[in-house]
Amino acid sequence: MWSELTKAIASFHIPADWIGIRVVRETAANRYVRDGIPQANGKSTTEGAMIEVLVNGCLGYAATNSLQLESLESAAEIAYKQALAASKWLIYPFKETERPKVVGEYNSPFLEPLDALSPGEINDLLVRMCRTLKVHDKIVQTTASINTSERESWFVSSNGSEVYQKFISLGTNYGAIAQDGAIVQQRTNNGWQAHCYQGGWEVLKQENLWQRVQQVGEQALELLTAEECPNTCTNLVLAPDQMMLQIHESVGHPLEIDRILGDERNYAGGSFVTTEDFGQLIYGSPLMNITFDPTVPGEYASYAFDDTGAVATREYVIKEGVLQRGLGSLESQARAGVPGVACARACSWNRPAIDRMANLNLEPGNASFAEIIGDIEHGVYMESNRSWSIDDRRYKFQFGCEYAKLIENGKLTKTLRNPNYRATTPEFWRSLIKIGNQDSWQMYGTPYCGKGEPNQAIWVGHGSPVCVFANVEVFGGGS
């Protein structure tokens, strides 16, 4: 691939200041079973090249799914014309320094390769999951799916970059819907599509896999007779599988520098954070330490280089509650004049890179789970996201969970259904009063973070301990 791409760049007849080619080849398999019946068995392969051209400070692109030399040449000419036509109207004069020369390689860690199980064996597993989830006649739907992906990318540029990255990933999802008349409750394994990791089949083979599958079915049933979550203001304890969503929506997105610069205002929105806030905004309580960390082995969005060739490193985004840096690429950093991270990423070869959060993790504290619950006189403990909504400045949010427990006098007591909570972002994070230790820290991921024009759904990873927030508005479902 290297020689073909380098040869292609050399053959382009365009007077560009810089040229880059990013080729992506990905084969993803999706196997999905409902109520023990196969619903989807399929593999999809995508392959193509994104060619970017810098002309008079303006970047233009053209993407093609044909890797033949004449197709690449034709795409380069289109990219050049795009840049030229836009150069009178460019938003910022980009420089070659925003695309530094870089050479290197990254490979996802894995123990058992993705072809270690046959499609038949995978389907057998999924059918068994559905049967195990069906703990009662009132379970009206059981589902189980496994998604695997092998993605390779090659990046070469006219200033000598040569980067190869190979990502092996596996995601699992299973859940049950229980129904008793008009009461319907759903329970999944830590929320929909939350179990996404880099790695092979070892990701699935957790020690307690089958107990967990059965527990998910039992908890769906349990929710049918549970009390409604009360409408009150109280101590809210969030499990790591809900903290994933909380971090993603109310820390990750508002800190994206392209949002702060206004690029996303027409679609995903802006941010309540401004460029002046970096280095001084008290985002949350002193317990709050958030890192951008693409170096965690096995986390879903780990990598060594972003899609423009910036070297990826672990950085504190929020330290002891104070905002340190944004989630912005080299391009965004140049435009905004604030520190960022290596986060220019694209969902595939057919989209240009934009600012993305990758792995964003809340660092653990000192409290054990028993200590956290034991110190609370009254509160609600919630697990697993089921509903999410936040305004376009990432300020007012409302999230719902699948499963909750009442906390009374230092103990988890009754199960609660339809638990929801709402708040504003800074008020919420400043009310963080206790944070779990490493034992409670868990890592999840999702393949569906949506952003960008044209739209892109991308994979992110989030790790967090259990957390306690004081005086939060919680409430139950409708009627």
Partner: protein, 447 residues
């Protein structure tokens, strides 16, 4: 461009014919094509943020045999040698895999004899003219958004001889105009012919609304307010019905917000009628099995659910009649019927309350009860005694569709607007929804 289109169609046909020859007697297959040649130009502050073109295409081959099925998706380039090589490899892989999969009792084989061919030519902007044509009109404004335009192809063929080809050349301009306070007016301009005068008129209309936004914003306490939802906001609420509501499979499997309506435990207002209207001609009528949907399908008539969306697989599983629904049983070309509220009566009938132009980030907060949460966005105003008084700070709502399309629905407008689909996830989507505005009593705002 016509030559390229012809080449792609020939290549697809050749692929289909070759697969028909290679097919074994006990095998059936479907072949689906999704292809586009699109320009995407992204704007911010009336400047270009990103601009480029994407030539993409993929084939999905689904093989069925011995009551089992599996699929392979691979790139489609129009180069016969390359495309056939990938198709042949996919066919071999599918034959190897299919025998070790579990039996699927609800597998539906292609069986119809439908064929169709629609090619819509147009007059969209030349690639090099997009930037200057759009930005010259808005140079003095804080203009942000995206232009997406070009050819989209959807095609289908199968082992029973069905064949469809749908190609169209369209554009969408999805934009917002901001003022310094952060308030904005949102607009869309879409079609198959770029009309300079129409575009200028759209921008001028938006400029007028910007003046209204410049007043100091009013912060409202949580509570219930009479609300007028402009058509774009109604379209956002309507989209929720494609996510766990109108699908028959969702109704059967405890996953639908319309289950109570289906069980006739609840009903909606007699003023609410919803149908699928393929006569608008903006999206293909064929589905993943080559089946043609009826030109019109009533879904909710006068508040009563008269049809859910039923694909052939669901029909087989639950002994229902299929109605040409797609694989995911989602709305493809929905239309809400107009009511009696005239444009000039909107503010006077609202009297005191909220005028909501757009909504944002909707989600079910409690799906079984039809409760939806989300935010107001863009040009939203506080109205007193029939006069717009001030823009509002954005509010979160949390309300059940059984209330706002039920007992609290005052009326729909007597006019409809076409709200184009501007989704570009994976590929550029087509069509949109035809909806009126609506006036609702006591809509619940929570934060």
């Amino acid at each position: 461009m016509k030559q390229e289109l012809t080449a792609l169609e020939s290549s697809f046909n050749q692929l289909l014919e070759t697969l028909l020859i290679k097919k074994l007697e006990h095998e059936e297959f479907t072949l689906k094509l999704s292809s586009e040649q699109s320009q995407f130009t992204r704007f911010n502050h009336a400047k270009v943020r990103q601009t480029g073109c994407v030539a993409d295409g993929s084939i999905e081959l689904t093989l069925m045999a011995e009551q089992r099925s599996s699929s392979r998706q691979f790139p489609f380039t129009g180069n016969w040698e390359k495309d056939w090589q990938k198709a042949h490899q996919a066919l071999q892989e599918l034959r190897d895999e299919i025998t070790i999969l579990p039996i699927d009792p609800y597998l539906v084989l292609p069986s119809g004899n439908n064929t169709s061919r629609e090619v819509h030519h147009s007059n969209v902007l030349a690639q090099d003219d997009v930037v200057s044509s759009i930005l010259a009109e808005v140079a003095a404004l804080d203009f942000t958004g995206i232009y997406a335009g070009g050819i989209v192809i959807k095609a289908y063929g199968d082992s029973s001889g069905q064949k469809h080809w749908f190609a169209t050349d369209t554009f969408t301009l999805d934009y917002s105009l901001f003022i310094s306070s952060g308030k904005a007016v949102k607009g869309t301009f879409a079609g198959s012919n770029w009309d300079v005068a129409s575009y200028a008129a759209k921008i001028n209309e938006a400029k007028k609304q910007l003046n209204l936004l410049s007043h100091p914003a009013k912060e409202l306490p949580r509570g219930q307010y009479k609300t007028y939802f402009a058509p774009a906001a109604v379209a956002d609420l309507l989209q929720m019905l494609s996510w766990g509501a109108v699908s028959e499979a969702d109704i059967q499997q405890g996953n639908s917000a319309l289950a109570a309506l289906s069980r006739k435990e609840k009903q909606l207002s007699a003023k609410f009628s919803l149908k699928e209207n393929f006569q608008l001609g903006l999206v293909p009528r064929f589905n993943e099995l080559g089946e043609m949907a009826a030109p019109e399908l009533a879904i909710i008539e006068n508040g009563v659910l008269v049809n859910s969306l039923v694909n052939s697989r669901t029909a087989k599983e639950y002994q229902k009649d299929a109605n040409g629904a797609n694989r995911s049983e989602t709305l493809r070309t929905p239309e809400i019927s107009p009511g009696n509220l005239k444009f000039e009566q909107i503010l006077s009938n609202l009297d005191t309350g909220l005028y909501v132009s757009n909504l944002h980030y909707l989600n079910w907060s409690d799906r079984p009860t039809g409760r939806i949460t989300g935010m107001t966005r863009y040009a939203c105003f506080w109205v007193e005694k029939g006069e717009i008084v001030a823009p509002i700070e954005n509010l979160r709502f949390d309300e059940s569709l059984y209330r706002f399309w039920g007992e609290n629905l005052v009326d729909f407008t007597n006019f409809q607007e076409f709200i184009p689909e501007v989704d570009t996830y994976e590929n550029r989507k087509l069509g949109g929804s035809l909806v009126p505005g609506m006036l609702v009593n006591d809509f619940t705002y929570t934060l």
